[in-house]
């Protein structure tokens, strides 16, 4: 068991309660032990600038760092992207600038606290990818998410601005983790488009088109669900879907899940107790389970018997297939092909049958 400080943040206690439940539930499968920072406070998020100065926000975050440092020397893990960015930003600034550190420590001394700069602040995805690793994730999978098409929505603050563990423009960590769970990761060009963040509520007219583009892109690429690792993204993409449908004439009813919820399902844990999938406002559990079931049914079907054609090399077989496809009903062309590849009538009939079946299969798909 590797220990980390968990900095859940305010969202995970309320609107993203399903994130916290699933993060806690799936951790033992990966050998992670969370130690919650005692009496942590809010990081200030992205709208604190209205009331607070930069120094006040720094003090707010330094308090958490000091509390964690006093309790042990583990890395701080923030599942919330906003907490991660702000806590990390302040930590980096404090470490880089001794004078600033001294100034902040002087203020922290008001409550008998002190920070020496010994901790690292990391995102949940960073720990899952770099500390746990894809192999360990694969090993923990008991119920692979085969057949579930997932769009990995990374959002802004999950990798930006520091790019410590992933690209800031074209990230892959989320997709790799989803693939390790057995899910099919769909192409998703808008995986880094902003969802409106904390401005969604107050600037709804402007933010709704952003979310529409994200959801449209995910659906166009065949995603059953969208996966995220940020409470703000999850909320903005999910709970406003009705409002967007009303305002922009769309028909979204797309489940937005946390990657930890998918992990809980893939690790064979209870989808409700551990995955908290009952807390998704757009129902997610049914969509996930249906996708897994239909994939299992497909896999159970016996595969069509392979065609055996004489003693041809694979290239020749391929060519014969192509030639016969092109020949179609033209008898002269069929005869030429038979002569060229030394096929008998039975073999030709067999190949033609396969071609026909393949075409019908394509049509029925």
């Amino acid at each position: 068991m590797k220990k980390y400080f968990l900095y859940p943040g305010c969202s995970l206690e309320a609107s993203a309660s399903h994130y916290l439940i699933s993060v806690k539930a799936m951790a033992p499968s990966l050998g992670i032990e969370w130690v919650e920072i005692n009496d942590w406070n809010c990081c200030g998020a992205s709208v604190s600038y209205v009331g607070a100065s930069e120094l006040q926000v720094a003090v707010l975050n330094a308090r958490n760092l000091a509390l964690a440092e006093a309790a042990g020397g583990y890395d701080i893990v923030a599942p919330c992207s906003s907490c991660y960015v702000i806590e990390n930003k302040i930590n980096r600034e404090l470490k880089a600038d001794p004078e600033f550190m001294a100034q902040v420590n002087e203020i922290l001394a008001e409550d008998g606290l002190n920070y020496h700069g010994s901790l690292e602040v990391r995102h949940l995805l960073d720990v899952l990818y770099n500390d746990v690793g894809l192999d360990a994730v694969k090993q923990a999978v008991k119920r692979p998410l085969t057949g579930l098409q997932v769009a990995g929505y990374v959002g802004c603050q999950t990798t930006r601005p520091f790019g410590e563990y992933d690209s800031v423009e074209n990230p892959h960590v989320m997709d790799d983790l989803l693939a390790a769970l057995g899910a099919t990761v769909v192409d998703f060009n808008k995986k880094m488009q902003c969802c409106g963040s904390g401005l969604f509520l107050t600037e709804m007219d402007r933010s709704m088109p952003l979310v529409r583009e994200i959801l449209e892109d995910a659906e166009a690429h065949g995603a059953n669900v969208v996966s995220t690792a940020c409470p703000m993204c999850q909320m903005n993409l999910e709970i406003y879907q009705d409002k967007i449908n009303k305002a922009l004439g769309t028909h979204f009813n797309r489940p937005i899940v946390f990657i930890s919820q998918l992990m809980a399902v893939a690790f064979g844990l209870d989808p409700v107790q551990a995955g908290a999938l009952n807390r998704n406002i757009v129902p997610a559990q049914g969509v996930i389970m249906d996708a897994l079931k239909s994939a299992a049914v497909k896999a159970a079907k016996p595969a069509a018997e392979p065609v055996v054609i004489g003693k041809l090399t694979p290239q020749q077989k391929y060519q014969a297939f192509l030639d016969l496809t092109m020949a179609g009903d033209d008898e002269q062309a069929v005869y030429n092909t038979m002569k060229k590849y030394l096929l008998d009538k039975d073999q030709v009939a067999q190949i033609k049958k396969t071609i026909k079946e393949a075409a019908l299969d394509r049509l029925s798909d």
């Binding site: 309320a14 406070n41 600038y49 100065s53 930069e54 720094a58 003090v59 008001e110």
Partner: protein
């Protein structure tokens, strides 16, 4: 603020009357460096603007670029040319979602977001209100942190809804009630009030002390 010697009056002017840019003898607008200096001195991260080379990558990267009259690049140059009122009253300084796309792309490494937030904070402090709703929301948000140390989402939402009085509040509330109900039904909204952190008294003291001090970070 009131004791205005002639030399120090410059930064305070303009809050009453709209500023008219000075003209040079050739009739062109003259650059007025006093506002830039005011920004460097008083706005958090304001000195970052000195690095800007006007390439416009920040503006092109912004998710809300279509809604901005003055993009970050334009705002930076307006600060340099001294257009105090137009900058501090511009709604565009409060349209930042903190997506950090401009920050990661800026070839000069300017913390554009911190500058925008600093400008918005300073504008509000100086009595401007670039965006009413976002300002109200932000105030309630910070009040919550200051009083409890943590955010109580429903409390912030409620206070924000009623911030402009009862009638607009009820209208806003009716508009949003289905969202609140859904969250309660899915157990994503705790009906009980969130309790303050244990160290709230100490935190308040720290925040008050921080409010009085100036940021000591090097640019």
């Amino acid at each position: 603020m009131a004791n205005d010697s002639a030399a120090k009056a410059a930064p305070e002017t303009g809050s009453e009357a709209p500023q008219t840019p000075k003209k040079t003898t050739k009739g062109r607008r003259a650059y007025d460096p006093t506002f830039a200096q005011e920004v460097f001195d008083n706005v958090d991260s304001g000195e970052e603007i000195k690095l800007c080379m006007q390439c416009g990558v920040c503006s092109g990267s912004c998710p809300f670029k279509m809604d901005m009259k003055y993009s970050p690049r334009k705002l930076f140059t307006m600060i340099r040319s001294g257009e105090r009122d137009r900058v501090l009253s511009s709604p565009d300084i409060m349209l930042c979602t903190s997506c950090y796309r401009c920050k990661v792309r800026c070839p000069r490494g300017i913390r554009v977001i911190d500058v925008m937030h600093g400008l918005a904070h300073y504008a509000l402090e100086q009595g401007f209100e670039p965006r009413h709703d976002s300002a109200q929301f932000g105030r309630k948000f910070w009040d919550n942190i200051f009083k409890k140390g943590r955010i109580d989402e429903k409390d912030v939402a409620m206070r924000y809804t009623l911030a402009d009085g009862l009638v607009p509040g009820i209208k806003k509330g009716l508009d949003m009630q289905d969202l609140g109900l859904k969250q309660v039904l899915h157990r994503r909204l705790n009906i009980l009030p969130v309790r303050s952190i244990k160290g709230i008294k100490g935190l308040k003291k720290m925040l008050e002390k921080a409010a009085a001090a100036k940021h000591g970070r090097k640019a």
